[in-house]
């Protein structure tokens, strides 16, 4: 699975409250959630983001609440991949379960700048910054997790056959 898009860059400890504030948790609609994605950290994010774009962030991305609404909002906003130094554990598991691709790669986080165009082969874990020509290698997920993500999440994966 290959993805490509423009980079939105964020810092450390981006928490689930800024990814999707609780005032919008009275719905399960993916599109409604996406409309408020990252609202409290970058109010214009949802106006700027385009299908395929990539989030690059620092340590402990997705810390805080267990709300699955957070990776759902990111995925439904069109984001194709989140690259971070590290992920909070519930967010990490939720992302796999709902089929949002994520990768840990501190070297890529350090080198990639806001607005760069980046492509990634999720199967290989190879991240290419097409703006600077640099490439990085992240540890790809084992095949069974890649399949869950490719199928669009755990439930879709389990009910596929």
């Amino acid at each position: 699975m290959k993805v490509q898009g423009k980079v939105f860059k964020f810092g450390n400890d981006v928490n689930t409250d800024v990814i999707i504030p609780a005032r919008y948790l009275n719905t399960t609609s993916h599109q409604e959630l996406a409309a408020h994605c990252m609202e409290d950290i970058d109010p214009d994010f949802i106006k700027k983001v385009q299908a395929g774009d990539i989030i690059v962030a620092g340590d402990n991305f997705g810390c805080g609440s267990s709300r699955e609404h957070a990776p759902i909002a990111i995925k439904a906003s069109g984001v194709s991949l989140v690259i971070a130094n590290s992920f909070a554990r519930i967010f990490y598991r939720n992302s796999i379960n709902i089929g949002l691709p994520i990768l840990e790669c501190p070297e890529a986080v350090a080198a990639i700048a806001e607005g760069d165009t980046v492509s990634c082969d999720l199967g290989e874990g190879v991240i290419c910054d097409l703006t600077t020509g640099k490439s990085f290698k992240a540890e790809p997920f084992p095949e069974f997790i890649q399949k869950i993500i490719a199928d669009g999440g755990l439930m879709k994966h389990l009910t596929k056959d």
Partner: protein, 419 residues
Amino acid sequence: MAMTMSQKILAAHAGLEQVKAGQLIDAELDLVLANDITGPVGIKEFEKAGGKKVKDKGKVALVMDHFVPNKDIKSAQQCKLCRDFAAEQNLENFFDVGEMGIEHALLPEKGLVGAGDLVIGADSHTCTYGALGAFSTGVGSTDMAAGMLSGRCWFKVPSALKFVFKGKPAKYISGKDIILHIIGMIGVDGALYKSMEFFGDGVKHLTMDDRFTICNMAIEAGAKNGIFPVDAQTLEYMNGRFKRSPRIYMADNDAEYDDEYEIDLSALKPTVAFPHLPENTRTPEEWGNIQIDQVVIGSCTNGRISDLRMAAKVLKGRHVKKGVRTIIIPATNEIYLQAVKEGLVETFIKAGAVVSTPTCGPCLGGYMGILAENEKCVSTTNRNFVGRMGHVSSEVYLASPYVAAASAVAGRLATPDEI
């Protein structure tokens, strides 16, 4: 090979003699929990997967606590979805208005969780039940749906950090100060993916409510779970409540820990987490003059009877400063009734506070105490992220019930000694 307390519980539920850190296991669950925010997402996933019946209708708990009594039509719809599902599935543990309480205070009180249990909940503060010697951890709605369907969940066995408590807590020092001190020391990702295991002579001086508060905020250090050993106090708490037999696991003496910290409880000072991260902790000499607009005392972190007693001790015979909206929220109806019987509610109302029905409302900026632009709140809740309790420019200071009550009286961040 030696195991930690957390690892022993996981091994037992996976039917294995031994597990080691990093191992992937499939384990049988004692309880699966969700609330009115995460439940609807989980129920839809359950149905999407073709789920017809939950594996065990006695091992699923649905607690309507975040936005109830409902704040708007959309949240009413969310509760209705849960209510209909509970009826259709004949769930034994569905808690609606009148029976509900804040989930992590309610489930221990009802005896639905206890020592030796393995529990997952679609709420990050599910780690609270470690106070009872259970392995409990927060998951998302999809894992919760899979848990309802199969009664099982896969886990990566965590390594652990060891915290050894020495001595007796100093005056006005509660579980909240202890856990904030720890988060300040190791950071919001200091225990990422790991267990936090609490030991030492100091443990016996901590009430069950202190222990609930400490385990509750393990997630604020990124931990998978927090856990206390079972002692006489734990057994006394579960006696007459817990529906099953306690299963007591102790860490092996030679169990391996990634790191060990010794904490002298007698040397701790009142500790407050300043905006906008729980790790941004400061003690009174570093507070300065923080003028406040609101105080919230409650939540799954500090809404238990001991917390209300601490607040009442400070507020008795005093009045909150004019202009400081003081909102007190007993976490369950049983706690509320006890507070009425003890005269705490009268103390609060005479002091100029309001006492609310149980709800998570203000903690996550849902309702019942939303902050306006630039407002500051001292709160006994668990998170102080940007915009957590309202406007993005508002600020939350996380504190113990003692400090929150004293601040309400002083109109600024203050300790009980200052008023």
